[in-house]
Amino acid sequence: MRDQSKQIVNDVLGYIQSYSDRDSLSTELDPEFNKLALNIFRFQYERNSPYKLYCQRCRKSPLTVKRWQDIPPIPFQLFKEAALACEPVDEAEAIFMTSGSTNKEKRGCNYHATLEVWDASMVPPFKHYVIPDRDQMTIYVLSPAENVNQNSSLSRYLSIAIKHFGTKDSVLFFDKEAGFDMAGLAAALRRSEAKDEPVLLMGATFAYVHFLDYCREQELTFKLPKDSRVFDTGGLKGQAREVTADELYGWFKEFFGVERELCLNMYGMTELSSQLYDRTIETRARKEQPCFYKIGPAWTRLQVLSPDTLTPVQFGDTGLLAHYDLANWNSAVGILTEDIGYQTVDGFVLLGRTKGSEARGCSIAIDEMLVAQTRR
């Protein structure tokens, strides 16, 4: 790594360590966040030509940008088209790739020159938002972990969770050859019931849908021990089946005996290096009214932008989410998503992914045509 990069990495690690117990709503950190965000912006602008080109198209440069809010958020699609990295990509310690669900040929890549920052960013918030009330838990993982996929940020996430917070009874139920061992998970859940030791289930949202189908087929229901919890990530969009979040949480109660306030959705993206969480478990642990909003660590910020103009909406209005993440020092500090949501004083609400437009009459819009074609 070049010296300049080392310096940035040190700055980011310093920030993370200093404020590991604070969150994205800590406005008193704004000046410090702003300073570091602008440094990273300048660094990325100088060191990565696709990034610079995009900023120039937006008519933004370090000379004109004085507030983190003015740093142009990079559309996540750019990760598919260009190498967004300040350090040489062939020296990267890890490359996390998107699943390529729309186009297998084109997968978005986030290059991590070092995983030190990624790991540092992952661990404290996980503790804070997933198991604030315990040191360790038995973790059952439904989705591929790092032993299966080296290029998935979620896989690394799951593996690190076990490494740092899993008891020795923790199990990965996804095998490279055999796939998702649902029978094994079902048996393990039965054993936990008998042992009366709480478990943490972790996996992609749709892995649960499949497992619940299996439970229905096998006529299985569980009454997981008190304090057991369900962690899901990835959401319900873009799958063959339409399932609503309410349905899913209803099923967690019905099939696992886990109450809504012990269920938590993590919002993460390959294009980011930090994760955002539901505040349910955190607020419950403090014996407060459970809060269902989402929040990130102190090294992240959120802007909600008007999809029409890409300028910030009024506080509380719905718009596109643009995440700012200092841990993304090597790629792009701001990311423009296609997720819609709104902010509240206690966090933000994710309403879902934008859908394509529906034309009003006989003129077919592009998305509908794609749907029609895939059906044929």
Binding site: P50, L53, Y54, R57, P75, Q77, L78, K80, E81, A82, P307, D308, T309, L310, T318, L320, L336, E338, I340, T354, K355, G356, S357, E358, A359, R360, G361, C362, S363, I364, A365, I366, D367, E368, M369, A372, Q373
Partner: protein, 504 residues
């Protein structure tokens, strides 16, 4: 905005509700039309500025009552009219609409922009342009285009091969209107009347007014004819309302998405004609001949018009443009000029306000191509600066990808227009109109090639959004596909002669 004075004629106001004060009365508009004597128990109201649209709440039983009523009125009156007489009545009605002071026209010019969000001036011009296509001469063109002898609709007429034939339109047609192009339902209503069919039209919530106003204007010219029509709003696909109706009708005309058309087709169990006008995609093809130094500005202007009229919501609007190299301006420069023309257009006639979904779709395609443009010099995005008002996506190579509409267009450069043809195949089922700007030597050859790819309408660039009378809508007929031809064969005629007691 000029609000028409309605004080002299307010008969279209809600008839069965007492209101205090004339001023308040004037604000209620019936966004439906039913024959005399039909009443409703309840209405929904939709407020538009100072106006309130009254929309009746329908039940299946009420709809069946109405269908029986219009059918009876048809038997009593419409069946006895000669086609010529019907043409006269429709022409008279259209003439009313072509008078700028006509109160219903002024009302439409005020309300349609409020309902649809389309620019008021655009609506004014386009409604006029559209309605001019249904004057007497155009109606005759419709009839003569499709029937060798339109007299077939009135009587049994002799056939060249002997015997006689008469054409019978459906007794009752169920029209499903779309709301994308204001006034479009009138087309379908007129086709039904020319066939002496009673009609029940289901309006779209995107534009529920024009069909109702047209029925009201028909009533001014001939109340008995209008009694054969009903125009009503309900939520499309609601089984409890429309399923029973579908068993009672003799023909169905559906405008809308391919899904809507399929849904209706599935529900029709009898052997009746169902004409479905579902999803279509149109594009433009610009030859180097149209890009000479004295021509290119006109060409850009024509294309910008086609793109901007009704924000590409019509299936006739171009979503894609093939631009040939070899003119005085390159396809890339053409895209830039198109961008600036769209900007001018936006200043004069701003695009409608969009739904969030529509905006997201534009933002998404822009982001995708902005990202591509970073790494691919053959791709460029020219887009309105402040918001999503217009977007031109330039591709240095031929290809074909649709647009999320609302003044978003894909421009593909090609050395020869023919190079673009190979990309049309996946879209074959959807292809409809091509707006061409090529020299006379190439027109027929290109038209043939486009036809082979599935295109059904080839028109001038700048005229894409205006269907003309007698055109083959989606490659089919407007009238003939709805009628039953009944033959009296020569043998019956000859045999009948034998039974004439007076025959020698």
């Amino acid at each position: 905005m000029v609000v028409p004075s309605l004080s002299t004629r307010c008969w279209w106001l809600k008839r069965d509700v007492n209101k205090v004060g004339v001023k308040e009365l004037e604000q209620h508009i019936s966004a439906y039309y039913v024959p005399q004597g039909i009443t409703f128990d309840a209405y929904e109201e939709r407020t538009l500025g100072q106006y309130t649209l009254d929309l009746p709440k329908l039940t299946s039983a009420k709809l069946i009552e109405i269908s029986a009523c219009v059918r009876l009125n048809r038997t009593k009156y419409l069946c006895s009219l000669q086609t010529d007489e019907i043409v006269q009545i429709i022409d008279k009605t259209i003439q009313l609409w072509l008078t700028p002071e006509y109160p219903l026209r002024k009302l439409a010019e005020t309300l349609v922009p409020l309902i649809t969000g389309y620019d008021a001036e655009l609506v004014r011009l386009e409604l006029k342009r559209f309605l001019r296509g249904f004057r007497k001469k155009d109606l005759y063109r419709f009839l003569d285009e499709e029937f060798d002898n339109p007299g077939l609709l009135d009587n049994f007429r002799p056939r060249k091969s002997g015997g006689f034939t008469r054409a019978y339109g459906p007794g009752l047609i169920f029209h499903v209107f779309s709301g994308n192009v204001p006034g479009l339902p009138i087309w379908s209503m007129i086709m039904g009347l020319l066939l002496k069919s009673a009609g029940i039209g289901k309006t779209s919530s995107s534009e529920p007014l024009m069909a109702a106003l047209f029925a009201q204007s028909l009533a001014e010219v001939d109340p008995n004819l209008a009694e054969c029509l009903a125009v009503l709003p309900w939520k499309g696909g609601s089984a409890e309302v429309e399923d029973l109706l579908l068993e009672k009708v003799d023909g169905v005309i559906v405008y809308g998405s391919s899904q809507t058309v399929e849904q209706i087709k599935k529900k029709v169990h009898q052997a009746i004609p169902v004409l479905g006008y579902g999803h279509k995609i149109s594009f433009a093809a610009i030859g180097h001949e149209a890009l000479t130094s004295d021509r290119y500005q006109d060409t850009v202007h024509r294309l910008a018009n086609d793109i901007s009229i009704y924000d590409q919501q019509s299936c006739l609007s171009p979503q894609v443009v093939f631009v040939e190299t070899g003119g005085v301006i390159s396809p890339r420069l053409f895209s830039q000029l198109l961008a600036s023309e769209l900007e001018h257009y936006e200043k004069r006639r701003p695009r409608a306000r969009l739904t969030d979904h529509e905006i997201h779709a534009i933002r998404s395609i822009r982001n995708r191509y902005e990202a591509l443009a970073i790494s691919d010099p053959e791709i460029e995005v020219y887009a309105s600066k402040s918001g999503t008002e217009w977007t031109v996506i330039y591709h240095g190579e031929p290809g074909f990808e649709g647009s999320p509409l609302n003044r978003t267009v894909q421009v593909y450069a090609c050395d020869n227009l023919e190079d673009g043809l190979g990309y049309l195949r996946p879209y074959r089922a959807y292809l409809q109109t091509v707006g061409v700007a090529v020299g006379p030597k190439r027109l027929e050859v290109l038209a043939h090639q486009l036809a082979e790819e599935g295109v059904s309408r080839i028109t001038a660039l700048g005229q894409m959004t205006l269907g003309v009378s007698g055109w083959h809508h989606d490659a089919r007929f407007n009238l003939v596909d709805l009628v039953r031809f009944v033959d009296i064969e020569r043998s019956a005629e000859q045999l009948a002669e034998i039974y004439d007691p007076d025959v020698e």
